[in-house]
Amino acid sequence: MRVKSKKVDLAQGDLTPMIDMVFQLIAFFMVLINFAQNEANDRVILPKSVLVKPPEETLEFPIVLHVTQDGEIILGGEGFTTDTLRIGLNRELAVINSEGKKPGDANVIIRAHRDTAAGDVQEVIRVAQEQKLEKFALRVKEDRI
C-alpha cells in the first residue's frame, strides 16, 4: 500500500541576502548618524564662508548661543533676550566655576541666523563680556566652492 506523505509543500524564500543587505544598511546609518547635531537649532540658518574648516579639536567649556532671525537668544533650549541673557550665562558660569575654571576659559559659540541684525550679535557679545567671558567663536557653515 502506498502511503502518501502529509508534508505540506511550503515555498520558503532564502532570506539570507535580504538580511545581509539590511544589516549593511543599518551599519551604514549607524556610522553616519551624528548625535552631535543636537548642538544645532532648526530656527538658525548659518551664514557661509569659504575660509572656515571644522575644528580639529572640540572647544573647551563651550557655551552655545543660538541667535534667531528675530533676535531671540536660545541657550540650553531656553529663550532669552539681551536683557535676560545674563541669568542664563550665570547658570553656565556656575558650572564652569564648580570645575575650578575661570570665565575666561569658556568658549562662547555664537550660532546666529544669517539674516539676523548684526547689532543683535554684538549685543550678545557685550552681555557675555560683562560676565567676563572673552573667547568667542562665530560659527558659520563651510562653503565649498
Binding site: L51, V52, P55, R114, G119, E134, K135
Partner: protein
Amino acid sequence: MKIRRKQEELRNEVDMTSMIDIVFLLLIFFVMSFKIVELEGDFSVRMPLASNSTGTVDDTELPLKLRLRANEQGQLVSIQMNEVQLGTDFAALQNTVIGLVGSFGPTEDAEKGPEIEIDTDFNLRYEHVIQAITAVSGYKEGDQTVPLIERIKFAKPRR
C-alpha cells in the same frame, strides 16, 4: 505494518521573524533620524571687556577700522576701510587689506598680528558681517588658506 518515512530529516530551523522585525525597526529608526551633516567652522574672536574701552594703543600697530553701513532693510550700502570708500565690493576690501597688511608677512603668533575693528550699523544683516570677516581674514589659494588678519574685534553696537 509500520511504514517508516525514508527521508525523515531532522531540521532545526530558527524562527527569524522576530529578528527581522527588530532589524527593520532599527533600520527605520536610523533612516528617520539620518540627517546630512553640513560642516561648520568658527571664526575666533577674542574680545575681553577691557579692549572695548579706550585702552593703551600701540603706536607701532596699524589701526584698522572697517565701517559697514546698511539701509533700513539691512542690506549693505557701503564698506569703508580706514576712510577709503570701497562701495559694496568685498573683493575690493580684500585687496585693500592685502595692500595694508600683506607687507607684514605671515605672523607666527596670531596674538601679535594686525587687529581690525569692525563697526557696523545695528540692522546690517549678519551675513554681510561674515562676508566682511571672510574678506579680511584671508583668502584661498588652491587648497591652502592664506591668512591676513586673525585678530578681529567689534566696536560698540550702534543703536
